[in-house]
């Protein structure tokens, strides 16, 4: 097993494509986007059922990558995300096929 990083970005659905482009630019070899159905942050709760515009929908972007690429992505995401958008976290994971990442 080989050590890699797992980047997890919880972000507004509308802002996600832009963040994803950055991940690609940073050299990450892949990512996967999951839909969220509700959440809480700051003072407000959102949920699909209260917002016909889906404008407060969030998605979760997961990307497994090598340290260099994940750190490159972090730097760029830091600029990109204003103080108002997205929750970014990085954890350590083990993978089987290191060549992929």
């Amino acid at each position: 097993m080989h050590s890699r990083l797992r980047l997890e970005l919880i972000i507004e659905r509308m802002a996600a494509p832009r963040a994803c482009k950055l991940l690609e630019a940073a050299g990450l070899t892949g990512y996967t986007v999951l839909p969220a159905i509700s959440g809480f942050g700051g003072e407000t709760r959102w949920s699909r059922d209260t917002d016909m515009s889906a404008s407060s929908d969030m998605v979760v972007v997961i990307s497994i990558g090598a340290e260099a690429q994940v750190h490159a992505a972090l730097n760029q995401l830091e600029n990109l995300l204003g103080s108002h958008i997205g929750v970014l976290s990085v954890g350590e994971v083990q993978v089987l096929r290191p060549g992929r990442f």
Binding site: I11, E12, M14, A15, R18, A19, E43, T44, R45, W46, S47, R48, D49, T50, D51, M52, S53, A54, S55, S56, N79, L80, L81, G82, H84, I85, G86
Partner: protein, 328 residues
């Protein structure tokens, strides 16, 4: 008032109220988002097609062009008034005020549809091109509000560094603009003959679908109110009720100037009075991410939409009748 009672007791209003009450009582019932969104597209295709067929039968004259231009101007202007009112009468921040103002300059297509039903029930005739007017009024208010926000200290700080091209595409090609104008064009091109083949889907079941959709809107409005009302001060709530009246008065003036018939006038007044809760929130989220959705969404969907549906529509029809009687 006969019209008022007729409106209040129409199935669509009753289903809206059912949803509203149920959500306020904290029922968990929901209509799946995918289903409701599918119905929304159906509704827009239907009114687009009907508008297009109506245009194909008559002819678009200069007067339609003038109305369109006035409507665009109205959509640009209303956010300025709304912003000024919000900044002087409420404690909303600059960016929240600008975002909210955009909603009131733009329009609500479901309110428009309900107005179509109400005018028909009141025996008034309407022209197909008003659908185009609706589509044209969606966007200018957004531009107007962004200019206001940029002027103020409130730096937009757009979402995720999105460039202007992306925002413009998002706004100009949003689903309702695209589907309304596209269906209008298709209805225009294929005319009565094309319509006949699709009428059993797009025309006859329309009112029933609207009932189902309004049940969902009632649920959304009720839940939005329950979650968000704390964030709305009394000044903001009042704005959600008097701003439609301000917009309606201005639109009535425009209608009088253009010598519009009572049906068309009622539709234009309703468009001006209505506030967006789909296209504009999405655009604001990209363009003014610092603005709080819980404020503008709750106000537009939770206060102004029900007000327009229940109190506003009969009023606007009465107003439209009054000005065209004056004109005649």
């Amino acid at each position: 008032m006969d019209i008022a009672l007729g409106t209040l007791l129409s199935p669509i209003v009753l289903f809206f109220l059912l949803g509203l009450v149920v959500a306020l009582l904290r029922s968990q019932m929901t209509i799946p988002e995918a289903f409701a969104k599918g119905l929304a597209i159906y509704l827009m295709m239907s009114i687009g097609l009907k508008g297009g067929v109506a245009i194909s039968k008559g002819d678009l004259g200069w007067d339609a062009g003038f109305v369109m231009i006035s409507a665009i101007a109205l959509s640009f202007l209303l956010p300025v008034i709304a912003y000024a009112l919000l900044r002087t009468t409420t404690r909303l921040s600059e960016v929240d005020a600008a975002a909210t103002a955009a909603h009131y300059g733009s329009i609500s297509i479901v309110t428009f549809v309900a107005a179509g039903q109400a005018t028909a029930a009141a025996g008034l005739e309407t022209s197909g091109y008003l659908v185009a007017v609706a589509a044209l009024m969606e966007v200018p208010a957004i531009i107007s509000a962004l200019i206001i926000a940029q002027r103020g200290a409130a730096q937009p700080g757009s979402v995720a560094g999105s460039d202007r091209g992306e925002l413009a595409r998002e706004v100009l090609l949003n689903a309702s603009v695209v589907v309304l104008l596209g269906s209008l064009l298709i209805g225009w091109v294929t005319g009565e003959a094309g319509m006949k083949t699709v009428a059993p889907f797009f025309v006859e079941p329309f009112q029933g679908v609207l009932c189902l959709f309004l049940l969902d809107m009632g649920l959304s409005a009720g839940r939005g109110l329950r979650n968000g009302w704390r964030q709305l001060g009394p000044g903001t709530i009042a704005f959600g009720v008097y701003m439609p009246l301000v917009s309606a008065s201005l639109a009535a003036g425009v209608a009088a100037l253009n010598e519009m018939g009572p049906g068309d006038a009622a539709l234009l007044i309703t468009l001006a009075a209505s506030a967006s809760y789909i296209a504009v929130p999405a655009a604001m989220r990209l363009a003014l991410p610092k603005a709080k959705p819980s404020i503008y969404l709750t106000l537009s969907l939770g206060i102004t939409f029900p007000f327009n549906l229940i109190v506003g529509l009969p009023l606007y029809i009465w107003l439209a009748n009054a000005i065209s009687a004056g004109a005649a």
